[in-house]
Symmetry: C2
Subunit: 216 residues, 2 copies
Amino acid sequence: MNGDKLRSVSEKTINRLSLYRRLLENRFGKGHEHVFSHELAELACVTPAQVRRDLMCVDNSGSTSRGYSVQELVREITAVLDAPGGQRIALVGVGNLGRAILSYFSGRRPGIAITAAFDSDPSLAGRVINGCRCHPMSELSEVLRGSEIGAAIVAVPASAAQDIADRLVAAGVRGILNFAPVPLKVPEGVFLEHRDMTMSLETVAFFARRSLGDAE
Amino acid sequence: MNGDKLRSVSEKTINRLSLYRRLLENRFGKGHEHVFSHELAELACVTPAQVRRDLMCVDNSGSTSRGYSVQELVREITAVLDAPGGQRIALVGVGNLGRAILSYFSGRRPGIAITAAFDSDPSLAGRVINGCRCHPMSELSEVLRGSEIGAAIVAVPASAAQDIADRLVAAGVRGILNFAPVPLKVPEGVFLEHRDMTMSLETVAFFARRSLGDAE
DNA sequence: GAATATCTGTGAAAGCAATCACAGATAGTT
DNA sequence: AACTATCTGTGATTGCTTTCACAGATATTC
Ligand SMILES: NC(=O)c1ccc[n+]([C@@H]2O[C@H](COP(=O)([O-])OP(=O)(O)OC[C@H]3O[C@@H](n4cnc5c(N)ncnc54)[C@H](O)[C@@H]3O)[C@@H](O)[C@H]2O)c1
Ligand SMILES: NC(=O)c1ccc[n+]([C@@H]2O[C@H](COP(=O)([O-])OP(=O)(O)OC[C@H]3O[C@@H](n4cnc5c(N)ncnc54)[C@H](O)[C@@H]3O)[C@@H](O)[C@H]2O)c1
């Protein structure tokens, strides 16, 4: 297909494509069969030029007068983002955050499902939470290999996070979404996203304060 | 102090300063009174030049031969990031995610505390969760005004998020950390951080798949 | 005390990402 | 059918972020 273009798409563009798709899905059927770049831009809080740039990597052609067909656009973005048969994700660490994540993603996105959870707490082993089975850590490699899971969420305490990441990579995982407040080292070729809430909150606090100061 | 430099510091630099500080705090006392830029870079998974650039906005001078004094550096970063008397944050939406956040931040960072929570669910009103009092929505403006809260976390369903943001801004909030999966519109001068987990997870899944494809 | 080694701080260069601005397309209007 | 208005797709440009590379600083060695 359009593999050449995809090879060089930036992370930021993929982020926005994910957002565009959801915004479009929400609107479809509500009298909006078509959408202009400036409308989608308004929804996503970006510029129209940004939207058009991002859409250059999907195999789509907008009409000059009607804009983009919402349905087609969703289909084309899905062709880029989703694995053909859907993608399975693992979760490691079924504590407060892990459970919130399980409940949130349960059945939310068609193309993505958290199908296996792991925790060192023996009382969790064998339990099914929001349709997802919890396994003991000893089964990590076996379950991951057996179910073609290529990506995982890390929600264990900071002290355990690097070790977990190493084991995930060893088991074939090539993408990690890390919520532990510590940067992880992964080999070349493994995609890593560090979502550090302390960082986010301290940054928001800083700019809020600066904004208040500016206003004085 | 060094207010001029701070006026122009980028969000990314503030993010990393927050991270540097935590990494330094973890190390201090464990035989590491001093640290070189390349050591801190290794911990933070960035380049040494990046570390030195970032530190240009704090009032610090590293020694050529010993590097930076860990204690001094933490103090200097704190002078930049933290409000002198500590900063109070509000949380709106005490559901699965909101509760996880409350438990996580409870007593975690000295300079930041979530001191008020709000939820429309009447059964939560008056309860104290992890040391934080839950208020009914009707008290939002009053409580925020009365306690000099300048920043807030939004963890309500997407359908309510924009309305909540408007009310927060009206009550004087100048920084919002948004976990609802919808972009929010805020006036100029209000700092907004959108932490969209669906976006993050779909992006990780995409690059994991691409990485697997590349390897074939 | 000169030579060496290795650091920091930073101007300059390189690399990325967002925006501008316009050619070409398409429909509606007269 | 020519004119107007408004859209998309994209080369060129601008702006931001990171990295390079080196001057100047400081300790150590011989
Ligand atoms: N709760 C939040 O809102 C929040 C916010 C930001 C970051 N985090 C981070 O996310 C991670 C989890 O936070 P939480 O609040 O859910 O903590 P938690 O203590 O509630 O849960 C941690 C879970 O990990 C499991 N665990 C511990 N060590 C393990 C190991 N070696 N292997 C497998 N499982 C292990 C525990 O049994 C527990 O179930 C932490 O790193 C935390 O810093 C949490
Ligand atoms: N749970 C997760 O891990 C997760 C992950 C990503 C994003 N999110 C987002 O975070 C938000 C909260 O998720 P959750 O899982 O905690 O949902 P939840 O349903 O468990 O909690 C939502 C809370 O918001 C309250 N609420 C609803 N409407 C409100 C209103 N108008 N004013 C004030 N409070 C109101 C509810 O009473 C409830 O307590 C959602 O937008 C969700 O999409 C959650």
